[in-house]
Symmetry: C2
Amino acid sequence: MSIFDLVDIDSHLAAALGTELDDVSQIFERQLASEFSAVNTLSVHVARYRGKMLRPILVLLSGLAVHRNSDTSLLTEAHRVIAAVTEMIHMATLVHDDVLDESRIRRGGATVNALHGNDMAVMLGDYLISNAFHLCSTLGMPSVNRRLGEITNTLCEGEIVQLHHREDLDVGEDLYFSIVTNKTASLIGACCEIGAGVSGGDPDVCESLRCYGRDLGIAFQITDDLLDLMGSQEELGKSVGRDLDMGKLTLPLIRALDQSDESDRRAIAALVKDRCHAQLRERLLADGWFDSAQQTAIDLVASARRCIGDLPDTPAATTLHRLADGVIDRRF
Amino acid sequence: MSIFDLVDIDSHLAAALGTELDDVSQIFERQLASEFSAVNTLSVHVARYRGKMLRPILVLLSGLAVHRNSDTSLLTEAHRVIAAVTEMIHMATLVHDDVLDESRIRRGGATVNALHGNDMAVMLGDYLISNAFHLCSTLGMPSVNRRLGEITNTLCEGEIVQLHHREDLDVGEDLYFSIVTNKTASLIGACCEIGAGVSGGDPDVCESLRCYGRDLGIAFQITDDLLDLMGSQEELGKSVGRDLDMGKLTLPLIRALDQSDESDRRAIAALVKDRCHAQLRERLLADGWFDSAQQTAIDLVASARRCIGDLPDTPAATTLHRLADGVIDRRF
């Protein structure tokens, strides 16, 4: 299922972007094809992991949104290659995240680590990272390589800081937002920024689109955390309750711990320590911490939309606004 | 301890290269420095992992060896950056290899996975790979990014094929040499090739140096395998017998299985299956398979030296020849 089945979009633009995304998929698959069957057997799983292509879509839409019209003939091979690169980086993080989180299920099927062991999953992630950088270097645009290298450095830092603070009940909101920005939002922001930059967008427009992507990315991660807390495996097609199992604090829990009196804090801490999913979920809902986090995601989406308020009024810009709203409804 | 304490080298060249290597180390450390203390705490281990800097030395020596004299003022910042990049890629493979091999000891100390868990080790390896590509992109030489990207793709393919053939007693010599070339020798060859290329070496000289590095790399891996089979943890400062434990076939064992009659083959296979280290070691020694593999390494070193037979007669070229001989004595 494509995002465009879920978000209202100009039908002409949807059809044209569909063609572009097919090209992006071909670039992606051609890059990963190996002379070794053992490698191809492993890469097959990546196709199964691929979801709604949010990052490639943001590269393409941002590449269009800087123009006065949304004619997709304005998109170049560089946009499509960068779109494939960002998807490959994202896939690498999913494969290694599943190792870190010991997840067994993703998109309704077994994870690579569950099927082939942690060692194969580590190597598949490495193969994806390496191919992402290699593919990017075929563009001959050193500035794009450099920018994406900065982003993946940041992404790793976010993950390491998060791992470091497992089981740490003193993680505050500032640290939470720093982690989420680094490990999730920075790449989404870069997709928008680079897509616009390759189209020759002015630096301030590229920066506006980066901020849009960053805020959308943080909102996305908050709703992802809320779904992990509240959703079911059947609904989401992946393991749920993993954040708590892995000792990762999420926004509603951080607020509950931070803003409760001492006895409530102790009670909540005990539920975390004992991994009492159901009781914790009930308490966070009843005390309004779920709604509070949800409201922050809504505010971030509004902020994301403000960032791109000055874009020319085109179907591409309209779609960026609708994608932001879609994060809250969590239609993708 | 530096390689130059172990290999006989012109004292003027050794001193000059020592200064260059200090600069390479500074570039390496500056690149990894993070604003997050959790990241720096983890990176500290990398300094401990670093050994004799073989790959940076090969970049620098190859950069000199294309000239008619070995004046290190001929080396540029690009050589030093590329030297740091190759060391960072190598460190990433060590960190992830230790996860794959479940190793507990490296260079006389606990591995990152032993100290901080597999998840931190996976992320540290990712941080190193990402920083290697980022550092490389700061050069603004897309062809170097592209070449190193090809090499790391190959390196991952070699690891995946090796993992795929764990416990496979039918691995033949061709497959063994393909795996070793891809996972070890290709990077060493690229160090020589790129070092020469950045100095403006002719394509055929760069290719000769690549072949030198490749053959030296294969010889290096064979002796590494032999040490894992025959050495002691005290001597090597790392876990030994891991190849057998992890079901990885090495050259003496492959030859023993391939060239023995059916009843001997069954006996050897049983020793492998039951992880009978001592008996297997004795048998491979007694039947001459250890010597046979050792001889192949000696032949490869001779081949490596022939590849660079036409280089100008300079201290840099002489050192490349001595380094090759050092692989056999395994003085580093």
